[in-house]
Symmetry: D2
Subunit: 279 residues, 4 copies
């Protein structure tokens, strides 16, 4: 790929886990190049080299210095894509600013409120600039949720069992809640019992979501993320299971997002369309 | 549904397991009616009542007598659909004959040779009559194979583990072989190992299919049918599992096939399109 | 085995599922013989032949007639063992009566109150007659509970997930409750979380048993009985899973119970000792 | 615990993965103290501090310098226990030497030949010094194998499925082979099929071990270690599954081994007796 076709990427939130995973993944991709990186303005690592900050060697490509915020980053580089791993509020603001400058934003957060999503959508359509909001970069997890939505049309009973590390604060997990919402798109009511069930100990039957989907949350040491979606019908059981072992599973999704957003001219939520377009 | 819109069905292979499952399923469906049934010509049960032969009560519908073969059946009834559970040769012959009479055949067998499938396809297109060849009536199993084919585009490693009842003659199972072929439609080579693997005991790594998919066959008492398709990538694992517990899981597929074939005007292989069209 | 060493068995509750399973299992065992069978006094099947009532052919052994209650049964036979599948109250009464006549009772119920168990224990010890109370005849389920009790000594985190057929009235299942009690014999408190967990939807974390064991109950069609006991520790997970597919899994436990009770001279609860003594 | 009751430990093979895991585990145990550590004679790290070499801070305890081999280590310290993670030959030699000096060896290797095990056994008995040979420090894995040996007495069918990281050289894994040997202690022949099975593709039925146990080896990215042992019988299935996620699962086994060997006066193979003695 000629140098002028390389996709130039700036990373917001460079000092977090996802920022580092991105540096690793992009550094190994011949068609991508990191041209800017920043975190909080005035952070102690401003001015450090990217390789020095992350401990990741960047082969065959120019190392860069960490900028002092987004404006400083844009003063020194011309990215095609802004990859953001900050939090909902700044993510929205960076996204709007990027679109205004014809830079395609990829916002890696699940917390952006609906009214902000609407504004991002309008801005992207007006400017005809691609934009992605990506709650989950794991291709396996995105696929699981897509399959669960499809399967909901063929089964009348479904329960979700998710397992995460002991010490996780909230139950159910965000992925389980999102999966339940995908299943609810079928418009059906699930798990209609022929009898009145009795819980001998409260909570036995798990959390009951709108439309009847049950969700059970297990917490055990050392399990990063595991989810099973069990669809039952007379005489059969279909189970979709996804295990995550470490953050390297996000690398593929990050690369897919960058290569997809370049071809878009509007806002898309989630990686599913990018995946199925590729399929 | 007015009586003249009820779909009239004849069943070939009435004395087998699938024949009986069909009688049960169709009897409970208000939009369907059994108008004919037959097995081998001259069989001992010719002339018996359907309810008497199968032990299934047929509520709110006329009982019928078992015919002495296909011709005898057609002499006494005018089916819209022929549901066939005989074997590959007779299935093909009944299929061609049915199409010639504008009766839509559903052939429930996996053994029809390619050249016969071609002839069925030509006949159906020529006569503009819907026809279905259905190797597997389990909606869950069909869905599993469809999902496996999709997932193959996103993962480079895949192994299949199937478990069936002790005493099953062949390994791998037909479903596992079919799943491997669906996965191979991706055109990829799977499970490329960075090293040369050594089997300390022959067979440890299972059966290796064209394109590198590994298949492992387990045989244990009392397990009707269980298959796991495991897709792996850096940091994650996606597993699709299907359990069959009894033949009642075929009932839904039989009903779906009957209601779908009525709307077709050509041959289709498998239930997948009927399902996804419905989704 | 000479005829005088054959163990003679009477069955109480002959018209139920377990009664029939027993007839099948005992009929195929050369060292055992059914000499009596009864259900409720005055039942419609009193006086029928055992093979006629159950539809089970009894090869190479004398068929018998169903008696009109326990007294009538004893008037016509001299059993060594009384195998009881009635309910808690009659089970206790038959048990005490049997011990008084030096007949060894096997009481297949989980509902006998503690004070009645005490009386059975005293009677058996006083008469030096073996007796068994068997809440679960599945050798696999008994083994699972035994292993769970052992594992509890080595792990600080444990959650139980049980799946039963849609339409089961109570949750958690009796087996799950019993497993939790076995785990509690370790005297430990489990699943101590480093943080305060929040349920975003009530019930997500399942039922919390005394000592902290969590239990999750799933209800899906066609699943007879499935339980997983998950033990977690830093860096590892140990799972014990038991699936029941049909009642034939009880046959082995019934035979083991009969052959064991003959060698006992006191009351024992559960099959575990009979199994481990055999191991 | 008074200082004179603290167990003093020397570590052989300090520069490997297990050496480091040991330093971490022992440093956090108030009743244990590292008094010596060494690797190959003349290694580049001889003379470094333990905390400097491993990057592990050693709270409330004296740091030590890495010795230049076993003799040098003994010249500067008086360990109660030698914890060895070298390879089979040196492990044996260090073990014999340690026993001669009344130091209890724990040899963490599976490769010691039978004749060397015999010599270690004789030496330990003669000197009345405890010694342990530990092929596997994972308490969960040891427990799984113990349970599998017990279950083999109650089931006639068993298959093992093990999954390890893509790139593992040998199949089946050492743990699977060892599990099969434990199962074979029952003296039974397993998986006797009522028919002649046919492999449509070679290897489908896996590796067949002496006595009929089948083993299937799966290789996928990112799976450190996963094994399922499936025991089947009429109507039921018992599965024992062990997942390892990282080396921290060995820490508990290392501590158990040290605390156990102190109480022994002869050689023991494996951690199972130490565990069950504790249970």
């Amino acid at each position: 790929m000629p140098a002028d076709q390389v996709i130039k990427v700036a990373i917001a939130g460079i000092n977090g886990r996802m920022g580092r995973t991105s540096v690793q993944a992009i550094s190994n991709a011949p068609d991508l190049q990191i041209v800017g990186a920043f975190g909080k303005e005035g952070a102690h690592y401003v001015g450090k080299s990217l390789s020095g900050l992350t401990g990741i060697s960047i082969p065959n490509k120019a190392d860069i210095l960490v900028s002092n915020g987004f404006s400083d980053c844009l003063a020194h580089s011309s990215p095609d894509v802004l990859l953001d791993f900050t939090e909902a509020k700044s993510s929205f603001e960076y996204g709007v600013a990027a679109i205004g400058k014809k830079i395609r934003p990829i916002l890696g957060t699940s917390g952006i409120p609906v009214e902000h999503l609407e504004k991002l959508k309008e801005a992207a359509s007006r400017e005809k600039v691609g934009a992605l909001v990506v709650p989950n970069f794991s291709i396996g997890a995105v696929f699981m949720m897509s399959v669960a939505r499809q399967a909901a049309n063929f089964f009348d009973n479904v329960e979700i069992v998710e397992t995460h590390k002991l010490g996780k604060k909230d139950a159910p997990s965000g992925t389980a809640m999102h999966t339940a919402r995908e299943i609810q798109k079928s418009g059906k009511t699930f798990n209609v019992s022929p009898i009145k069930e009795t819980e001998l100990v409260a909570g036995a039957r798990g959390a009951t979501m709108p439309n009847g989907v049950h969700v059970h949350s297990i917490r055990l040491p050392s399990i990063l993320s595991l989810q099973e979606v069990m669809f039952g019908s007379e005489g059969e059981l279909l189970t979709i299971r996804h295990d995550s072992f470490n953050t390297s599973c996000f690398a593929r999704g990050i690369l897919l997002a960058i290569r997809s957003v370049i071809k878009l001219d509007a806002l898309e939520i989630g990686l599913e369309k990018s995946m199925l377009g590729k399929a």
